[in-house]
């Protein structure tokens, strides 16, 4: 027994099996997205609906009133993929010389060979399926994505926030078409992994002596850490002395938090704007600076800007050593400030969900670009 869905095409109701309905919807959605820039989009879409309706009508009679999935799929294969007709500019025609050859295969691959989209995937999910969806989107093990989120949460506390925001913004893959779109075309993903592996071996070959390099890397990391610790220690001591002289400094905590929060919001907005539009609040990047490098720079700049604030806040906590009733008031203010920041971020996320999705979807391309750039840089050396 199959569930039947009633639809209206060209003013007449048709009954379709549920899977067939999913196919039809995916076909029409793909058509709509391919005709995005076509000025006659609405008219072409209604032409197509009318043609499909006519084919359905031919299949039905007084005793048969449901279009089964197989028939829907046959009708859509007969319709063929929607080709965005962009005129007959010679350059374009030369570029798409192999397109008609590919259409035969596209037909076999069933209608709705939609581009990959970011969805949440419930099958095998731990919570809302966000990590699962990301893993399918960039084709890696979901456990790795989950680990990354846990690390993000432990290091900066941002992972949880990002997770909640994505659980709200990213839609769930419900139909089989959406599920297929969530993991996209397997060929490109495999191709990417193959290239990534190749790049890795290429890089390993270039190491003159693995042992010395590892040793050097280990020392370098250790030295960096020691420097950071010393610097932080000095800074905190300085502020602790100040605080000892002015106990009233404890009240600066909520003020510092407000500043920190505002900068965090600004930073998230800048990052989303960079990922989505390639500019930071409309300011174009300097020529020659790739987008992924700009994103990295944003991370570093944020870290540098925020570090004095963080140190100052820590000192404030220190100077509150002896519990007094007044401090509870300070902490209450502090909590309100941060709740405000979280609320502001969620509000921004829900009001700019389109831009946010665009930004999140730009991440894999950015990672691919970074990988490619680094690889070609290695080969040049």
């Amino acid at each position: 027994m199959n569930k039947v869905i009633t639809i209206h095409l060209d003013g007449i109701a048709y009954q379709l099996e549920e899977a067939g309905y999913d196919l039809l919807r995916a076909y029409l959605e793909t058509a709509a997205s391919r005709l995005q820039s076509n000025p006659d989009r609405e008219e072409i879409l209604s032409d197509i609906e009318r043609a499909i309706a006519e084919k359905f009508r031919a299949l039905l009679n007084s005793r048969k009133n449901v279009v089964v999935t197989k028939e829907v799929s046959d009708v859509l294969a007969e319709m063929g993929p929607i080709e965005a007709d962009t005129g007959t500019a010679p350059g374009h025609d030369a570029g798409s010389a192999d397109r008609p050859g590919a259409t035969a295969e596209e037909q076999k691959a069933a209608p709705g060979a939609a581009p990959r989209k970011l969805y949440r995937i419930q099958e095998g999910a731990m919570l809302a399926g966000v990590c699962n969806g990301i893993a399918a989107y960039v084709n890696i093990d979901p456990t790795l994505v989950r680990l990354a989120f846990v690390l993000l949460t432990m290091l900066w506390g941002a992972g949880l926030l990002v997770y909640v925001a994505m659980a709200i913004v990213v839609p769930e893959a419900r139909s089989s078409e959406e599920k297929a779109a969530a993991s996209g075309d397997p060929f490109t993903a495999q191709e990417f992994i193959r290239r990534a592996k190749e790049g890795y071996y290429e890089a390993v070959k270039n190491f003159p002596d693995g042992k010395t390099r590892r040793e050097w890397k280990r020392r370098f990391k250790w030295r960096m850490r020691a420097d950071t610790d010393r610097w932080r220690h000095n800074w905190q001591n300085y502020w602790a002395e100040q605080a000892a002289m002015h106990p009233g400094l404890g009240f600066a905590l909520p003020m510092l938090s407000v500043l920190h929060g505002v900068m965090a919001i600004l930073w998230v907005c800048a990052l989303v704007s960079l990922l989505g539009t390639g500019t930071v609040f409309g300011l174009a990047l300097p020529a020659g600076l790739p987008q992924w490098a700009a994103a990295l720079l944003l991370f570093v700049a944020y870290g540098i800007l925020i570090s004095p604030l963080k140190a100052a806040r820590r000192v404030c906590y220190w100077s509150l050593g002896r519990p007094k009733w007044t401090w509870s008031f300070v902490f209450l203010l502090e909590a309100i400030v941060w709740l405000g920041v979280v609320a502001a971020l969620l509000w921004l996320a829900s009001h700019n969900s389109a831009q946010l999705r665009e930004a999140i979807q730009a991440i894999p391309t950015l990672v691919h670009q970074a990988a490619d750039d680094v690889r070609s840089w290695w080969q040049q050396k």
Binding site: D40, A97, R99
Partner: protein
């Protein structure tokens, strides 16, 4: 790569010319066009035809009118405009020229 694949770009480019020719002969609707093309090397599908027809209409080469059909709702019947007929004449002349070139090259 066989001949069929090699010439797919040419076939695609010529589709507009053939549509002008088919529509010039008689008022037709999309199923008629598909039927006429189906037996030839230029067999095509609605998915390709509708966007192409709508662009040709936008360029003023053809127009359509709604006509009642014996069974079911009215259909769009396409016909050429004056501009479309002019373009058909030019394309035919050009096609003849190309044909002549293809035949004459390498002959002497």
């Amino acid at each position: 790569m066989n001949v069929n694949e090699k010439f797919s770009a040419i076939r695609k480019g010529m589709l507009e010319f053939l549509l002008l020719q088919i529509i010039a002969a008689d008022k037709v609707y999309v199923a008629d066009i598909l039927k006429q093309l189906s037996a030839t090397e230029f067999a095509t599908q609605e998915g390709t035809l509708y966007p192409l027809l709508s662009r040709m209409r936008r360029e003023g080469l053809l127009d359509y009118e709604w006509k009642e059909s014996e069974a079911g709702p009215p259909r769009k019947y396409y016909e050429l405009t004056a501009k479309g007929r002019e373009q058909l004449r030019e394309t035919q002349a050009y096609w003849n020229k190309i044909n002549g070139t293809v035949k004459s090259l390498g002959q002497q």
